[in-house]
Amino acid sequence: MSEDWRETVVVRRRFLNWMLGTGAGALSASVLYPIARFIVPPEVEESDESQVTLPLAPRDIPRNSGQIFRFGSKPGVIIRTPQGELKAFDGMCTHLDCIVQYRDDISHIWCACHNGHYDLNGSNIQGPPPRPLQEYTVIEVGDKIVVSKDT
């Protein structure tokens, strides 16, 4: 008789502990989950623009110079080589995301942050960048420059 009584209490205690634990767990989850989701920023539609018309005329870019332009929400760099060819690349250094620039003294695309060098084909030739810059296609249409990326 007394053994039964003890067992009932133990079972009841175990059940109550389980209920309490599950309840506390569910409560913390229902508090923490919205917080975690709140902190992660919502996905913004990636601009699927595959081409952009620059607010520049070809004559605005002299030989051996370069400029930064907007490609959707990302920066791009457009350069005119010393030979006179127009080329465009992704403007973000493949090392740690800084924005590159054209250096007319050495005719390289250069990143000031960690001294990374790219040649005029976008290849990483010196310093820490691990990959080449993505090259875009440049088309001159009369007075306009259209830059597009292959998708």
């Binding site: 740690l96 924005i99 054209y102 250096r103 990143c111 000031a112 942050c113 990483n124 310093g127």
Partner: protein
């Protein structure tokens, strides 16, 4: 009221009856500070605490005018610096006290390492101290972006991208750190929330625990001193050591006031997400050694991207520092001269590495790009 306590007047008694001031006073008087030839280093922690108090005060004042948005942040700082009475002073004090605080904190850490004050039972004091250093660096990193100027913009791009190179979870963490794929106004509000609310909450909790442990266990006597019995009569913390601390605090105040007056914090150019990183771009001095190391690492080491190797290296060095109370298992009897313990070689190597890399970072010749047309 305990008998034998001197009468302190009615107000003191009123509070004593309710919160037990006599007990608190006894606890405060119990603490003593060992006196020996390395005692000087005991002042660095208190000085860091003082600079933290300055940061809280000046930080709250800056909140009265600062506006956390990409469109207004830079202008609001400009307004503080040029229009608000003593605005330049408050911001410059905030700037210099932050720098000095990191400086004293790092010295405090190395002095604890060299004097082996992390030994049992002080492991938790060391761990909370390591946490406080981490939070302080996070304060520095998040606060740096708030003026929304060009230097801060690129420093934040690089600093957050470093999180992004961590394998597997990196990309997700990068989005969380930036509040999106790029450093934008969303990053600014995020950093502002961290800098002005989350980090202060964390640091106050951790700091209280750290100070409680220091109070509970007292200051550590270096084993080398203890062995030789080279300690003098200990100094009571209240009021003797505290008064000496205050002299140090006044000294620190004089230094940051002079720095603020002669070298007011700069603002630079407003951030432009579509401009090239300027030549000669540099991070804050306390991140310089890491920045310079990343510059020297080649693109690939053993087939792995150089930056991943570098960042992992810093991670491992940091982990060794954090875990030192559990790595250094020497018993006190095995103590060598404080300058020649084997771990001390490691600390010297770390300090030398940091100093050399920092020097190289500042000594580097910046290419003259004045002929490059502005984009």
């Amino acid at each position: 009221m305990t008998t034998g306590e001197p009468r302190r007047g009615r107000i003191w008694e009123w509070f004593d009856h309710r919160i037990g001031l006599a007990g608190i006073e006894r606890m405060a008087r119990k603490k003593e500070v060992p006196v020996h030839k390395h005692s000087f280093w005991y002042y660095l922690g208190g000085m860091t605490l003082f600079l933290f108090i300055v940061q809280v005060g000046t930080g709250i004042l800056l909140l009265f005018y600062y506006r956390a948005s990409a469109a207004e942040a830079y202008e609001s700082i400009q307004f503080i610096m040029t229009e608000v009475k003593f605005g330049w002073l408050i911001r410059s004090l905030h700037h210099w006290a932050a720098n000095l605080m990191i400086f004293t904190l790092v010295i405090h850490m190395f002095s604890v390492l060299f004097l082996r004050a992390y030994r049992p039972p002080r492991e938790l004091t060391w761990l909370t101290g390591a946490g406080l250093l981490g939070i302080t660096l996070a304060f520095g990193f998040t606060g740096y972006l708030l003026p929304w100027n060009q230097l801060a913009f690129f420093a934040t791009r690089v600093g957050t991208q470093i999180v992004g190179v961590v394998p597997i979870v990196g990309e997700g963490l990068l989005r969380i750190a930036r509040g999106g794929d790029d450093v934008t106004g969303a990053t600014l509000t995020r950093f502002y929330a961290l800098h002005a609310a989350v980090l202060p909450l964390l640091i106050v909790g951790l700091l209280a625990f750290h100070l409680f442990m220091v109070q509970k266990l007292g200051m550590s006597t270096p084993p080398s001193i203890e062995k030789r019995g080279a300690t003098g009569r200990p100094l009571p913390f209240m009021p003797n050591f505290l008064l000496r601390d205050l002299v140090g605090w006044l000294g620190a105040l004089a230094i940051i006031a002079a720095l603020a007056a002669y070298f007011p914090a700069e603002l630079g150019l407003k951030a432009d997400p579509f401009a090239s990183a300027p030549a000669g771009i540099k991070p804050e001095w306390y991140f310089m050694f890491m920045f310079q190391t990343l510059k020297y690492l080649p693109a690939h080491i053993l087939g792995i991207e150089g930056e991943i190797i570098g960042i992992m290296g810093f991670g491992i060095a940091g982990l060794i520092l954090v875990l030192v109370p559990f790595i250094d298992r020497r018993r006190d009897g095995e103590e060598a001269h404080p300058l020649f313990g084997y771990l001390n070689y490691l600390w010297f190597a770390m300090i030398a590495f940091i100093l050399i890399m920092t020097y190289l970072g500042y000594a580097e010749v910046v290419p003259d790009l004045t002929s490059v047309p502005a984009p």
